[in-house]
Symmetry: C2
Subunit: 243 residues, 2 copies
DNA sequence: CGGTTTTTTGATCTCTATCAACTATTGTGG
DNA sequence: CCACAATAGTTGATAGAGATCAAAAAACCG
């Protein structure tokens, strides 16, 4: 299963044996889900590991009165339910932001894999670590950065995460998020997000048009966002692959 | 090693063999650290698993201009660096909030343990899952709850986490946090936190005096906080107040 | 095209930050 | 045990960031 292989190698070098073991997994056709659909809800028992192959999704939590917070973005190559074994019960929901396709890896196959090659469990753990580190950076973002800095930081995270697995090095990337999505991710209202976005544009830092993000001044953007990419673990044992 | 055993059993039942394996770990005297001292800094390579035995600590991140956000609380029985194997490089810092004592479990011993009893890795993973779920709940807290709701929620989390491992069922518990700590955890200034705390007191919901937290009206508190303890994975002995 | 979704604008209000004291509490050494 | 210093908690006044409400313009889509 090629998608799993390249995803696991993103944060961890695998041995030939480990790769071979992963190669024995039989490839099933991916599940397709239309945009805006919730694929996993709070309280569900996931029962399998899901790997996002195409499209963007998000983790989110709702408050009883309707307020919604996006607590994480899933980009191609990310796992829906981080960690092995799969969690008992979802504490949050996952929804497609664009049309998506994901692979489902049955738990039995995974158990066999990990039994044969225990190092594979480490590769999963590495993913979970990065996921947790991203959560913590978002906590800092929501707790201590203002809307302007927050949005700048989010754009840089997206840019860096996308570039880390295959995109080329130009100063733009996909970003199919609506301003509403961005507002839910940064914890502000969509009205305020709109104004913040205009300010970023006016300052010549970032522009977002037709689902594409343009970094106009990386250095100044990184400075106002106080962006330190270490938490994303790019660079170390990262394997670049073209998709 | 008794501390490790009871900590792992908090979220996962262990087999007699697994317990026996853990029993073979030799008990070293715990490391003691005075209050307010940073024990692990961003960028450090932890190189071992640390288990908090006594006292409270926190994970935090700083911004270059001095703003600080507490991104997690460590209570007795919690691991400093969640996940197995230990993370490469700390993306955040850990500091003692009170005088603390922690156990250090050498990586070799842990590797042996997991090799002998693979189920033990699952117990660690369970811890990591709960840790991640707490992060996500905090993201919702910072992103979508106001100061009043946030503080109410934090108190309920503390109360629930402490009660879940041994405290009796009276409506009070330890809480050695200063208002400054609470402000850093809830993402507000200490002045505003002070006023918010007074409001909680005035409303007859919570009181905090001489390092002790008194829950004056659990039901109303849970309601204003929109507290749903599921994310903490405590058994169903905990009441649920979703709405 | 017409209808839906997304983005934008303006006015107003509320929550939280900031600054600058001041008081209470805790802790320490003589 | 007191005296004093340091820490922690409290108060008031004011400024600013972001929320809210309502509606218009623009973009998207079948």
């Amino acid at each position: 299963m090629k998608a799993l292989l390249s995803s696991l190698e993103r944060h961890c070098r695998l041995s030939p044996e480990e790769r071979a073991a992963i190669g024995t997994l039989r490839e099933a056709p991916p599940v397709r889900v239309p945009a805006r659909q919730t694929t996993l809800s709070e309280g569900d028992k996931p029962g399998a590991v899901r790997l996002l192959a195409q499209g963007w999704a998000c983790r989110f939590k709702d408050l009883p009165d309707g307020r919604r917070q996006i607590v994480g973005l899933l980009l191609p190559g990310d796992f829906f339910d981080p960690g092995l074994p799969p969690m008992q019960e979802m504490d949050h929901s996952v929804a497609a932001l664009t049309p998506i396709a994901y692979h489902t890896i049955p738990p039995e196959a995974l158990e066999r894999l990990v039994r044969e090659e225990p190092g594979i469990a480490d590769a999963f753990a590495r993913h979970a670590h990065v996921g947790a580190a991203i959560h913590r950076e978002w906590l800092l973002n929501l707790g201590r950065r203002n809307a302007f800095e927050r949005l700048a930081h989010l754009f840089l995270e997206i840019f860096t995460r996308l570039r880390s697995h295959g995109d080329d090095c130009e100063m733009e990337c996909d970003c199919p998020l609506t301003q509403n999505d961005l507002a839910d991710a940064t914890g502000v209202t969509s009205v305020h997000l709109n104004r913040t976005m205009q300010e970023l544009r006016r300052e010549g830092l970032v522009e977002l048009k037709s689902k594409r993000l343009f970094i106009r001044d990386y250095d100044r953007l990184a400075q106002v966002a106080m962006f330190n990419p270490n938490y994303l673990q790019v660079g170390h044992e990262t394997r670049i692959f073209a998709q």
